[in-house]
Symmetry: C2
Subunit: 297 residues, 2 copies
């Protein structure tokens, strides 16, 4: 049985784990994201110790970004132009691979989670789907015909522009774009708009009408852009489960019967869904990237 390591590299904390998949995560540590040397150093130390007990076949890194996920690029495996102090242009996958001497898979956190959902969760047997996460940020990954979405760089779905809700005068809080999708609909936007954290707002608060408007607009645009077979929506904001029927209803209204697919018209409850892996998608995404790196060799 092959054993894998995975790093869920977030902007505020790192989660490092060893395992083979859901139900078999054997060791896990978490520590805050400080500077790259210290943080990546701690991860390497953990995996070196783990590998002494039982060798690791490969390791996966699902990282905050922007990253360079193109294996053909000279900066493959780097965190690139992040505004996070100290982390811009940091070699990450290469440093870990040299230290541990095993293959290292590397992608965005959202593509990692998408891969985990494909492997074990809500996107099994699909070739074209999206995984969106709505929390502190608003991002998305996924696959098109079996390949994780990369291109010039990787998608940044949170920065799409969508029409504002007619009753909403919130200016938006994206430092780059103001009222892009992320700027209007991430967790901090909810808190700033209403003066209360989303988790503390009752289900019948008008905040959720506004939130469902923006998220449905985003989903509709992504349906038009990519024609996904399913849209998986996770992250802290989506823990408010009553958002799902609201978003589904808005998506149907906005599409207005144009996309004549039974999966949407008759079965939208299984088309726009919560992650199958819940909050484990992050670390399992890193392990799924490791599994894939082992196969690619």
């Amino acid at each position: 049985m092959k054993l894998f390591g995975g790093i869920e590299a977030g902007g505020t904390k790192f989660v490092c784990a060893v395992g083979t998949g859901p139900g078999d995560v054997r060791a896990e540590i978490r520590f805050p994201t400080t500077n790259p040397d210290e943080t990546i150093g701690k991860a390497i130390e953990f995996f070196t110790r783990q590998a002494d007990a039982e060798p690791l076949t490969a390791l996966g890194i699902a990282s905050f970004g922007p990253v360079d996920p193109d294996p053909a690029s000279p900066t493959f495996g780097y965190i690139t132009s992040t505004p996070k102090p100290g982390w811009a242009h940091t070699e990450f996958a290469g440093a870990v691979a040299r230290a541990l001497g095993i293959p290292v898979g590397f992608d965005t956190d959202v593509n990692g989670a998408a891969l985990a959902e494909y492997r074990w969760g809500a996107a099994r047997d699909l070739h074209t789907f999206l995984y969106l996460t709505i929390g502190t940020g608003l991002g998305g990954g996924g696959m098109a015909r079996g390949a994780l979405l990369h291109g010039l760089i990787h998608p940044e779905v949170g920065h799409m522009r969508v029409p504002r809700h007619p009753d909403d005068e919130f200016p938006g809080m994206c430092p780059f774009h103001g009222d892009c999708l992320e700027g209007m609909a991430n967790g901090p936007a909810i808190e700033k708009r209403w003066g209360i954290k989303g988790q503390d707002l009752p289900d019948d608060h008008p905040a959720w009408t506004i939130e469902a408007h923006y998220l449905a607009m985003g989903v509709v645009n992504l349906i038009c852009a990519l024609s996904p077979q399913r849209v998986v929506m996770g992250g802290g904001v989506m823990d408010k489960k009553h958002l799902f029927p609201m978003i589904r209803g808005n998506v149907l209204d906005l599409l207005a019967g144009y996309v004549q697919a039974p999966a949407i018209l008759r079965d939208i409850d299984r088309y726009i869904v919560a992650p199958g892996l819940g909050n484990q998608a992050g670390v399992l995404g890193a392990i799924a990237l490791a599994e894939r790196a082992a196969t690619d060799v």
Copy 2:
């Protein structure tokens, strides 16, 4: 040398051609799109005659839609839920394949054109790109990591929702969505908004500011959704070449430096481009689909 047939199946006319690629289209006929039996019958008649002179290795169909482009589907090769009278749920690729006894490739008109641009035009050597056409409709095809974009069905980029231009009160003319991208920015929307056909409006007319706003919004959303390595923009509206610098400028303003790719930041003139094959992309797309069908066998 293999010889291919191609059908560019449009809603108003069919173009049937025999050839091997750009500069070698040996025979071509055009006829209006009437009912399916007559129209597909005429195409079969043409290719049967051509094949008597020199056998065809395969045939490609780049069709108006919506279509079913999924080879695993029981309705692969059908035109599906089109509002065009008589054409809904029409078997197309299968009928042609049975009549001619050769492999038939089948996809949307825009994916066909995208494939032709990939094979011989402005998207050579790219794995992830978009081909948009802005004319009577507004549609798009393309590739993600080397595969033509299909999923649940195929993209319908014209039906994305984008913020309105602040000075624009035009209600939009999409029968399904009113002010979706296509409803605001296709050729008929320009004519309806200003009472003059786009081709007759001078380059300094305010129509183009509005038009560039919508098209740039669409391009930005597609950059965020798919991270294409290049965006090829064709179709009748884009014959107004002064739109290109306007769109490029708006895209840079809207992205506001967020996507840190030299291809966008330093080289946008080669990032948002006209088709390399001009108005030949349609029929060459059909021939490229034939070439691919021959390879797949």
